[in-house]
């Protein structure tokens, strides 16, 4: 199927990352084009999450660089990455447990809120207006994710699946250009995965957001991604369209096992 994808927006070059003795990533390179859905797959412990952490500035790779929209970085901090429009969801749910759903998603907009401390304390005109305007945006996300009923619930009390949605909501609130998703559908049943796929594709279509997706459900990966990178024990063993990857013998050996 032909989908409109643009130039390379994110280019990962020769990333190497180790922790003491463990080599989590060895000389990994791949790129992501604007507007595509790019999947990363691989067995457990292959280094997928670590890869996102590198892009994200959570880990500092020992070697290699990352080019984002033509600018090359060796070291970035998370703040810079966020400012450039990269958002992220987490594998092990990194929600703000003590905050309500609404506040969690609102916090995704913080980068865009400009009022100073004093103005906020006084809820002066502009501060109030700003809050309202962002609230409206967030309400759209809440509607979109169908979590209206839980708006004021502390996220810690939500069932696992809804927490994942909130995590996505928070990332969406950043109006990202690149959205990194780390196993967004783990712990969901088929119906819910369908919903989630829908959300992701919608974001991709309507927003033009570029998506980098880690997922273990091959059905999902094959159906919704444009290109797939395969990692195994820190090494890249495959890269290409879903069909190419599916046919790659090494990928079959290392990850897919038999037919999928």
């Amino acid at each position: 199927m032909a989908r409109k994808t643009g130039d390379v927006i994110l280019d990962v070059q020769n990333i190497t990352l180790g922790f003491g003795g463990v080599k989590a990533l060895t000389d990994i390179s791949f790129n992501v084009r604007e507007h595509e859905v790019r999947a990363i797959i691989g067995p457990n412990g292959a280094g997928k999450s670590s890869m996102l952490n590198c892009i994200n500035g959570v880990y500092q790779p020992q070697q290699g660089s990352i080019t984002f929209r033509g600018k090359t970085f060796k070291h970035m901090n998370s703040r810079q990455v966020a400012e450039m429009g990269v958002a992220r969801t987490f594998q092990n749910l990194a929600l703000f447990k003590g905050m309500s759903v609404l506040d969690n998603i609102m916090s995704g907009r913080n980068l865009k809120m400009k009022c100073g401390l004093l103005a906020q304390a006084l809820r002066w005109g502009p501060a109030e207006r700003e809050e309202l305007q962002h609230r409206e945006f967030v309400e759209h996300i809440i509607d979109f994710l169908e979590i209206q009923a839980h708006r004021k619930t502390p996220v810690g009390r939500l069932p696992y699946g809804l927490q994942k949605r909130v995590d996505l909501g928070r990332a969406l609130a950043m109006e990202p250009q690149v959205l990194l998703l780390d196993e967004p559908m783990a712990g969901m049943n088929v119906e819910e995965k369908q919903d989630m796929s829908r959300f992701i594709l919608d974001v991709n279509d309507e927003f033009g957001a570029t998506i980098v997706l880690i997922e273990h459900d091959m059905g999902v990966v094959m159906d919704i991604s444009d290109r797939v990178v395969v990692l195994d024990y820190g090494k890249k063993i495959g890269d290409g369209t879903p069909d190419e990857v599916r046919a790659n013998p090494e990928v079959i050996r290392a990850y897919l096992g038999t037919e999928h």
Binding site: G57, A87, Q120
Partner: protein
């Protein structure tokens, strides 16, 4: 059946963003304000003002300040006493060194000095976390204890190191009666309480809570840890500093460094945990608990007509106090504020369970 939100649909987000979205709550707050500002001054005794309401209000204010740091931003501090002391001594110095300094400026000045100090001692929090940070904040506590004892200048060369404030006057008005002092405290508490509430429900509040709950994720969504943590230290120590100045100026009148010892720090931490971490209302509950309960326990033997020795009575009082702390933590680890809201939730369901 009477505590219902039914029929109160919010037609705009701004209505939902209001301080007290439920109408009943709004009325309750108004009633509370009326009692605090009108009824109490008319009926309460001097003793009640001086021994109950004034300390209650000041400690509530300090607890709000501490709650911002501990409850909202998750940085446990055992050095609150020090921040109060800085506020108090700074305000004192402003007052004695500048003639005719209006009280309010002195208080705010005290708060600002505490802010500077707080930010300074907040810097380690960028690296040290959790209980390590908690214990490390004791450095501030002991340093200030020492500093106020040792540096004569701080106490205006008082030979003993204890200081006592002049009259409380502002723009020609002098606060003399307990009722006037109470109203002063009340006004400040209300003002700072509202400001604090606005902060914690706004963007900065979310940054603080995000830092508290999951700092890596917070960084990933673009929150700068330096700014979030230090601003929490700044705001918190400002409020705590003002509270400290009030404690010295209004409640004690004259004090020695031990008035702001580690006991005070622990007491405040007590308050916010019993009251509810991350809750402005909880700060008030906690302060009430800590101020009122000992007084209450103190009276119980009198009421029962028991004559036990003061020593025994106060040991028993301590034990009961300790036991109640444990008890409340068991009943609701999130504090009285949560207990209160659970209660309200039940009321909302009443008379149908669930």
């Amino acid at each position: 059946m009477f505590y219902r939100e039914n029929g109160q649909f919010k037609s705009s987000y701004s209505a939902d963003l209001a301080l007290f979205p439920v109408a009943q709550d709004r009325w309750a707050m108004l009633a509370l304000a009326a009692i605090a500002f009108i009824a109490l001054p008319m009926f309460a005794s001097d003793y009640a003002f001086r021994a109950i309401f004034i300390p209650f209000l000041i400690l509530s204010l300090a607890a709000i300040g501490l709650n911002i740091l501990v409850g909202y931003c998750g940085q446990i501090s055992l050095g609150t006493g020090a921040f109060m002391a800085v506020g108090a001594y700074a305000a004192y110095n402003l007052q004695v060194r500048i003639d005719g300094m209006p009280l309010i400026i002195a208080l705010i000045g005290g708060g600002l000095c505490a802010t500077v100090f707080g930010v300074l001692f907040g810097i380690p929090s960028l690296r040290i976390r959790g209980l390590y940070l908690a214990v490390a904040t004791l450095a501030a506590q002991f340093f200030v204890d020492w500093f106020t004892n040792r540096v004569k200048w701080v106490t205006n060369d008082s030979s003993s190191g204890s200081v006592s404030v002049r009259t409380l006057q502002m723009l020609g008005f002098e606060f003399t009666t307990p009722m006037q002092k109470y109203l002063l405290c009340l006004t400040l508490v209300v003002v700072f309480g509202l400001l604090a509430k606005n902060l914690v429900r706004g963007a900065i509040g979310r940054e603080w809570m995000a830092m508290r709950d999951m700092d890596v994720a917070a960084a990933v969504i673009g929150i700068r840890p330096v700014y979030a943590k230090l601003s929490a230290f700044a705001v918190s120590s400002f409020i705590v500093g003002v509270a400290g100045a009030l404690w010295g100026f209004v409640h004690l009148g004259a004090w020695e460094p031990s008035a702001f010892s580690i006991d005070k720090s622990l007491q405040l931490l007590f308050m916010i945990i019993i009251g509810g971490l991350g809750s402005i209302a909880g700060s008030f509950f906690g302060a009430a608990f800590v101020v009122l309960l000992p007084l209450f326990l103190n009276y119980v033997p009198h009421w029962l007509g028991l004559s036990i020795s003061t020593g025994t009575a106060s040991h028993l009082e301590h034990m009961i106090f300790g036991a109640l702390i444990v008890f409340f933590l068991i009943v609701e680890p999130h504090g009285l504020a949560r207990l209160w809201s659970t209660g309200r939730q039940k009321l909302r369901l009443w008379p149908f369970p669930h």
